[in-house]
Symmetry: C2
């Protein structure tokens, strides 16, 4: 018999306690260890990064991951983008009445696995259940804190003309995977979501200190959106070389067919960096030593023009790469 | 014309930026100040508390508050229950396509007002939009961090036989208010939600140090649930004196009519403490000096029996106060 989530699982009563003990604790031991409304953590004097993100992806399972792994990695990557070493996560689950508990178990289990693999613990949690139809299956919100090492200060306002723009690997995989899945095309597509935690890759750049000016994981809106935000926040122009964009052939072909641009597609395991050009080659070498950074590339540079992002196409023409106005693909993260 | 949330407001593109700038920044300036995926905060060497909670209350506006004020206070109170001084919050919004933006504006505004009043800033945020029907109007998840002063260690495992149980004010107001609202009874009821931030009230107990053994805000499942969890976590028995429970007459009468027990009804601005009996009178005096603690009372004590919660009724009989098995009232927080 399928075990299903009941409203009573969200009561705060015995059934809530059972659900937490049977589904959450086995995978997320940190929550059990603290077992209070707040977790308590000892910290040295430091700068910390604090982040939060909700995950509403549809479908909740996809090639390369699920909503739980995505929530974990997404928050780790936000911390990594601040140059922070992730210390602890907290996770809050909103569950629909009737949800198949075996699915929830799988999702929580994959969070537990990645927690074990990364050594980053989920130390606080919350569970709410809402009546059928009030939420689509389940949403997860994760918050995280991390410690920023001395000498690190990643912020778009540090971006300077001459900086090189580096991306840590192929772009558009996550967005393309979701599009293909929804369109029902290429069932045999080998493109999986790139959902992965980038904190170790980013930590490799610590020796470069402040020569790394900014970092951002290119999720919703893709690399195109990150560059538009950086341009606006720094007041600088950015030029992107289309020929240098690392894109898998299958993604390129599929996007051409669907009329999508990979540079605007969501990634869930790719970091964009703005690096002082004098240290750009070093940064690229360091990133490439990591298995998640093997396809890293310099894709553009910051220029002393007004704040705009321009793409030099493969045919030598130039075009404005504007911020996408609205929705490209809803609920990809 | 009613402005409504569109899917495109969640794209990460221009419309998302507009929504954030026009609706969130005016009230939640801290988010603007950081304007990155993670906020960066300087901390001394310390113990910090980290917490997270999702809010799915229905309806989103109710007498005494709304989902935004509730989310803010709920997270502040979780930090306060750890004895922590709240440092910063982060907030993530999941919005339904079609949501009236003026309602969102009111909700964010009330978060801004309480942020100003308390001096606690929302420093990081996220917004997701899902298609109509995939979420009921809006859900908010808030996470918070706070610094725990030296000498403070509130944890159920510290609870000892002889400890007095103190509640900071009248119980059941929030749960009763929601029940009455939904049942459509007592439209003229003067009972409002007690939604309020308790961090200053809790901070008054700092001079008592470790004589305060545990604190918990009595939300879902009410005071009855807190005491059951404490009993289980500490392995001790707890006796509650029904005659000493501070309950408003209207709540008492209404509950009798509806067959509800105030001790299991949710509160959103009441803290339960377990205090060394030698300092219990001091604790009560300190709590009563705060305007949110005027109706505080000692309601029971910890006893050296097996782990169970027993209520001595007003008629002198005794009965087990078990953890509620399932749902008393869905979506009260």
């Amino acid at each position: 018999m399928v075990e299903r989530i009941q409203l009573a699982h969200g009561s705060g009563g015995k059934l809530t306690a059972d659900l937490i003990r049977e589904v959450f604790y086995p995978s997320l031991g940190g929550v059990e260890k603290f077992a209070n409304d707040s977790a308590v953590i000892n910290l040295p004097a430091c700068r910390i990064a604090l982040t939060i993100d909700s995950f509403v992806i549809n479908p909740i399972f996809f090639p390369g991951g699920n909503i739980g792994k995505l929530a974990f990695c997404g928050t780790v990557n936000d911390l990594a983008a601040a140059g922070a070493i992730p210390i602890a996560l907290s996770a809050s689950f909103i569950l629909e009445e009737g949800l198949d508990i075996s699915k929830l178990r799988l999702i929580v289990k994959s969070m537990g696995e990645i927690s074990q693999k990364t050594g980053i613990t989920v130390v606080a949690g919350d569970t709410k259940v809402v009546d059928k139809g009030s939420v689509d299956k389940l949403f997860i919100t994760t918050a995280g804190i991390g410690i920023i090492p001395g000498g690190i200060n990643y912020h778009p306002q540090n971006i300077q003309p001459g900086d090189h723009i580096i991306v840590s690997g192929t772009i558009g995989d996550h967005g393309y995977c979701l599009t293909a899945l929804r369109a029902g095309i290429e069932i045999k597509s080998s493109i999986k979501s790139d959902c992965q935690p980038l904190h170790e890759l980013v930590a490799l750049l610590k020796p470069l200190g402040c020569a790394v000016h900014a970092a951002r994981d290119a999720t919703r809106g893709g690399v195109g959106m990150v560059l538009n935000e950086w341009s606006r926040q720094s007041g600088r122009g950015i030029v992107v070389y289309e020929k240098d964009l690392p894109i898998k052939d299958q993604v390129k072909g599929g996007c051409a067919m669907l009329g999508l641009e990979p540079i605007y597609l969501a990634n869930e395991g790719k970091m964009v960096f703005a690096v002082d050009q004098r240290r750009s080659a070093d940064a690229l070498s360091l990133i490439k030593t990591h298995k998640m950074g093997r396809n890293a590339a310099v894709i553009g540079e910051v220029v002393d023009t007004k704040a705009q992002v321009v793409m030099e196409t493969e045919w030598g023409t130039k075009r404005l790469l504007t911020a996408p106005h609205g929705e490209i693909l809803p609920r990809v993260c």
